[in-house]
């Protein structure tokens, strides 16, 4: 919690007392993809600065959102993970994120900063539970250098950074543009394979197709909002 709080008897104000400072929600965003090391957080939020990251992690820890744990031997490396209470931020932050989808990207956003993991976070949240009912599988993606995976478990889908644990059912390699197109259902897995845009390293072509039947996002495409167009006219 920051030194300056709103001090209001309002749950939103209290939530913002914990999460409202700059960078804080983005740290949580990263941890929604699984436990991460200090350096990995910093690598993905470089402009934050190491001092700010340390402050935020300390603050989130005392507020019970984040926890520092030492991985079991022989790794024995410290990582930060969400507490159960922090995990409950998944829905609110994904809701905010979905709102942000329709914002125009101005020239201040760095096109190079796009990451497949972040798309994965949104896909897992937007997926219809019915589509994966009764299915328990793991899909790993290797996208332009990143590696991440989905744990599909009977309607619940968990997106995670890094390689899948043993027993992965599907491993697909492609670049970020292809993954984005697959996510938006602008291209089918079959087309992607045939055009050489995606390679199935483990598993079958039909499993690849089913993966995006579960994960593919069919929501409305981002559009410039009516109100904004009006104000610019």
């Amino acid at each position: 919690m920051p030194n300056k709080t709103y001090g209001q008897m309002c749950p939103l104000a209290r939530a913002l007392d914990v999460l409202g400072e700059r960078w804080t929600m983005l740290v949580v965003r990263e941890l929604l993809l699984g436990p991460k090391r200090y350096k990995d957080l910093l690598a993905v939020l470089p402009a934050m600065g190491t001092n700010r990251l340390g402050e935020r992690l300390a603050s989130l820890s005392t507020d019970g959102v984040v926890r520092k744990v030492i991985l079991s031997a022989p790794a024995a490396v410290p990582v930060y993970e969400l507490t159960e209470y922090g995990e409950q931020l998944r829905q609110p932050l994904c809701a905010l994120s979905r709102w942000g989808l329709n914002l125009p990207t101005d020239n201040r956003v760095d096109p190079q900063s796009g990451r497949g993991e972040l798309i994965a976070l949104g896909l897992a949240d937007a997926a219809a539970p019915a589509a994966s009912a009764g299915i328990q599988e793991t899909y790993e993606f290797r996208v332009s250098g990143e590696v991440f995976h989905f744990l599909v478990n009977d309607g619940k889908i968990l997106p995670r950074s890094g390689a899948a644990p043993a027993g992965v059912d599907l491993v697909v390699e492609c670049n970020l543009g292809t993954f984005t197109a697959l996510a938006l259902c602008e291209i089918t897995p079959t087309q992607a394979r045939r055009q050489g845009l995606a390679t199935v390293l483990t598993g079958t072509a039909s499993l690849f197709s089913r993966a995006f039947a579960i994960l593919g996002y069919r929501g409305e495409a981002p559009t410039i909002r009516e109100d904004l167009r009006r104000s610019r006219a």
Copy 2:
């Protein structure tokens, strides 16, 4: 949008580019209760300062979240209201708010800052649509000096600041403690009436009861979180 943006190709980061600065989401929170005048916003967010409020409203306007309109004559007074896009923040902000419900209130929150309107905002969001299916009514509350109302319309409930428009079905007067207890279903409307804690100024006792059958919040009570207790032990 602030001068400093995250510049990340991520919908959450873009949302925070628009909403992430201090006070901004609280301004939106107020406007979720209906259009408001500059002075009324300032009255409810006094620590913000008039300069900050002006900046935020300008920023939210260019981002298409908020719009300044002049009320029709003879009032002819300027108010700020959410655009349709801004209105879509209701669910994300209410989700964040509900997360904040379980945060402990430390000694830095001002107990005097509690407002019935803010409780109303949460109630309207948490209410089960089925409970008000087919019902089209308006309920006004006068709570410790504040006046606000609910527009119930077949499963959709809109909380609004100020007096209800003509044709109100129910008007109840009580203090904030009673309204809170009613909201949490810790007391029934009948009990509140009999104990002299609430007065029905317009409408019937049974309508009062039905209002809280629709609005009453039956979620789990706020508790200190397990993780937080552990970290303090």
